[in-house]
């Protein structure tokens, strides 16, 4: 099995603050981390390697500093790391990024055929969830998004079965390899690498690919030029914090308290009330 995990280095958004006076984002001292959703993809890949053997390659497109994220991934136990970095890539949107990563994966595939590509379900700094599907489309990989569990991979039969979180339940899906999976949060917990893994990561040479090494064919498709997305405005949403409501409660009389709570809630959300009333009416009709 050769599994490629695409990760992104992002600023730790939990530590980003907006300056109260100037309203600008204060990035100073905010540490860069691996996009938290990508950790689930890394762990899923490592678990598959534990089970089936093979190799896990981590891949990222980013500035030279992104090497730290790749080294971190190696310290969890990934085998190989590739940083695709080129000044031309600056300003790439999701379309351009998926083009670059798809080209790099194609190059990796020539070295060692790729069976599975994993990513997080989205990034915390872009929140688009577009890059994974973009890669799958370009490489004609089977696409499985929002996967909560990889049930089984059968390398001989070239098949994979996963559980996918969907509205209203869990879908069990099976498809062929090669495939691309975007992993849902909470699906696993990243491991604590062993001492030898950390030594290996500390000494590892992360491979750096520029546009040529990555096999980019059309440079008009990368960077700002290749990015049709326009960010028209960035603003700080006004805070939605509201005071908590307090409702009196008599422990001897839970029904009354529940009713009071419901009344308050329904008064707050008239749409829900209307729906409930309609349902009730419909149910009532049936009873008659």
């Amino acid at each position: 099995m050769h599994i490629v995990v695409c990760i992104k280095q992002v600023p730790d958004s939990a530590q980003i603050r907006v300056h109260p006076v100037t309203n600008t984002i204060m990035r100073q001292g905010v540490p860069a981390i691996i996009n938290p959703y990508d950790l689930f993809a890394i762990e899923a890949a490592l678990a598959l390697k534990d089970q089936l053997g093979g190799k896990v390659t981590v891949l990222t497109m980013g500035p030279p500093q992104a090497e730290a994220a790749l080294k971190k991934a190696l310290s969890y136990g990934c085998d190989d790391a590739v940083l695709v970095t080129d000044k031309l890539f600056a300003g790439s949107d999701t379309l351009a990024t998926s083009y670059v990563l798809a080209s790099a994966i194609r190059t990796l595939d020539q070295e060692n055929p790729v069976d599975l590509v994993l990513t997080g379900k989205q990034t915390i700094d872009g929140d688009t969830a577009q890059v994974g599907p973009g890669i799958a489309r370009r490489l004609k990989l089977e696409l499985l998004t929002y996967v909560s569990r990889i049930v089984r991979v059968d390398p001989a039969a070239r098949s994979i079965r996963v559980e996918r979180r969907a509205e209203g339940g869990v879908q069990v899906l099976e498809t062929r390899l090669p495939a691309l999976i975007t992993m849902l949060e909470g699906s696993n917990e990243i491991r604590f690498g062993s001492a030898p893994d950390l030594f290996r990561a500390a000494r590892a040479q992360v491979r750096r690919w520029d546009r040529n090494a990555a096999g980019i064919e059309d440079i008009t498709k990368v960077g700002l030029k290749g990015s049709p997305t326009i960010v028209s405005r960035v603003f700080v949403p006004s805070s939605r914090a509201r005071k908590a409501l307090q409702i009196g409660f008599d422990p001897a009389n839970p029904e009354v308290a529940t009713q009071a709570l419901l009344d308050k809630l329904l008064a707050e959300f008239p749409k829900v009330k209307k729906e409930l009333d309609n349902k009730r009416a419909a149910a009532g009709e049936r009873h008659e």
Binding site: R17, H19, P20, V21, T22, M26, Q28, G29, P31, S75, F192, G193, S194, A195, P196, L198, F199, A202, R203
Partner: protein, 436 residues
């Protein structure tokens, strides 16, 4: 399957100033050095904002000013003796002192430690973060031969282990190399970084370019406990903090957070930090037991450097410089042994202690060896005198109907009432003794 990690000449535990100085010196001399740090990166665990004394670093990296992340060169030192609503202060600002190259700088430790670690890595040491040393490995004779870390297959061997793991040095305590620190030998300090626009910092402190100010404070702000407070200017932030002996805090049942809140609302401090956004609250212990509280500094195969050895001069708020000097001296001792082909036995490592005795590390700690006890038993230095001084200034500067001679007499009487004539003389003597 266990994978073996190869053996090193030296393992340095901790990547603060002490560990970095040791690892840098050894790696530069071609030793095979492994440095382990429990934080996510060097500096991530270290209290923000501090004074860097240039000399100790200059001895290691003479051109550090070209690349180190320095915040401001300290060109003005203020000392404030405080009462609840006032202070009496002294200021030192001198063109002679402020000539380049500077003698002291404000730094943000997280950034500085990271930079220092990069120099260590460039010098050739292998630095691994997020690895916590949990125990020392020993051979049958009891000699330390390596460390064990908190990860699978985590036994790593070396000829010598340098413990630079800071004030708590759990490793040393657990291995029985030193006792747990006593509350009376350690201060608990809290510190906050208050962010303000650069221009505001410069306007409030009358600074230009990269000039900076340090204010040291003592008096009523420590509520009778042995302690001091400080305020430093960084580029676009201000570090403000206070530290008191842990034993005092316990006795008075105060928390450092309460002390800091009070300090920040003091009428002399509040306007300096007004309107800023507070980030990076941190609490940290400082070993302040001084010379008399020092543990054994070396043994079979191991050495203690920096805070883990208790090298802090509380009176002058010097810690990181003593850490760097002791780290360098430990490294130089090992290099000397290496040249002579001698093993890291306790007898040979005694040379480390001799080097320390010869440096400001032990010379200064020895000079101030009686300070902790004096302050502990003679609280008037922290309570009566600051109050008297402020009252005296109030009296002295109030121009009213009374003549100057009567004013001076009133001031003197106030001192005598509170401390008695003999008490005053005794205090002068005690203070003189404590600093001999």
């Amino acid at each position: 399957m266990t994978q073996n990690i190869e053996k090193f000449d030296v393992i340095v535990v901790g990547a603060g100033p002490a560990g970095n100085a040791a690892a840098y010196t050894l790696a530069k001399a071609g030793k095979k050095v492994l440095q382990l740090e429990r934080g996510e990166y060097p500096g991530s665990k270290n209290v923000q904002g501090a004074i860097l004394y240039a000399d100790a670093l200059e001895q290691l990296i003479p051109d550090f000013r070209d690349s180190a992340p320095l915040e401001r060169q300290v060109i003005e030192q203020r000392l404030w003796v405080m009462e609840d609503e006032s202070y009496v202060g002294a200021t030192f600002r001198s063109d002679r002192f402020n000539q380049m190259p500077g003698n002291r700088y404000t730094i943000i430790r997280a950034r500085f430690d990271k930079w220092f670690s990069e120099q260590v890595q460039k010098a050739g040491a292998l630095v691994i973060c997020e690895m916590t040393v949990i125990a020392l490995l020993r051979d049958e004779s009891g000699k330390v031969i390596g460390v064990e870390v908190d990860r699978k297959d985590g036994k790593i061997y070396a000829d010598t282990v340098i413990l630079a793991d800071g004030v708590n040095s759990l490793v040393a305590s657990r291995a029985g190399l030193r006792q747990d620190i006593k509350p009376a030998a350690v201060a608990l300090a809290v510190k906050e970084t208050v962010f303000l626009p650069r221009e505001t910092v410069e306007a409030r402190f009358n600074l230009k370019g990269s000039e900076g100010v340090v204010i040291e404070m003592l008096g009523s702000i420590s509520q009778g406990m042995a302690g001091t407070a400080f305020l430093y200017t960084n580029k676009d932030s201000i570090s403000v903090g206070i530290g008191c002996m842990l034993s005092d805090m316990k006795a008075q049942n105060t928390t450092p957070a309460e002390l800091l809140e009070k300090l920040k609302t003091h009428p002399s401090v509040a306007p300096l930090i007004a309107g800023g956004e507070t980030r990076e609250y941190a609490a940290h212990l400082i070993p302040e037991g001084g010379y008399k509280a020092l543990p054994g500094l070396y043994g079979e195969g191991w050495l203690l450097v920096g805070d883990s050895a208790g090298f802090v001069n509380a009176v002058h708020r010097e810690g990181s410089n003593l850490a760097m000097i002791s780290g360098r001296l430990a490294a130089e001792t090992l290099l000397e042994l290496g040249e002579k082909g001698l093993p890291s036995s306790a007898a040979n490592l005694a040379r480390y202690k001799a080097r320390l005795e010869d440096s400001i590390v032990l010379k200064d700690l020895k000079k101030y060896r009686n300070i902790p006890e004096t302050l502990d038993s003679q609280r008037q230095f922290l309570t009566d005198y600051p109050a008297l001084l402020n009252d005296a200034a109030h009296e002295f500067f109030t121009v009213d109907g009374r003549d100057k001679a009567s004013k001076e007499k009133a001031i003197f009487n106030a001192f005598r009432e509170r401390r008695s004539l003999l008490g005053l003389l005794g205090d002068a003597y005690r203070l003189w003794r404590a600093t001999r």
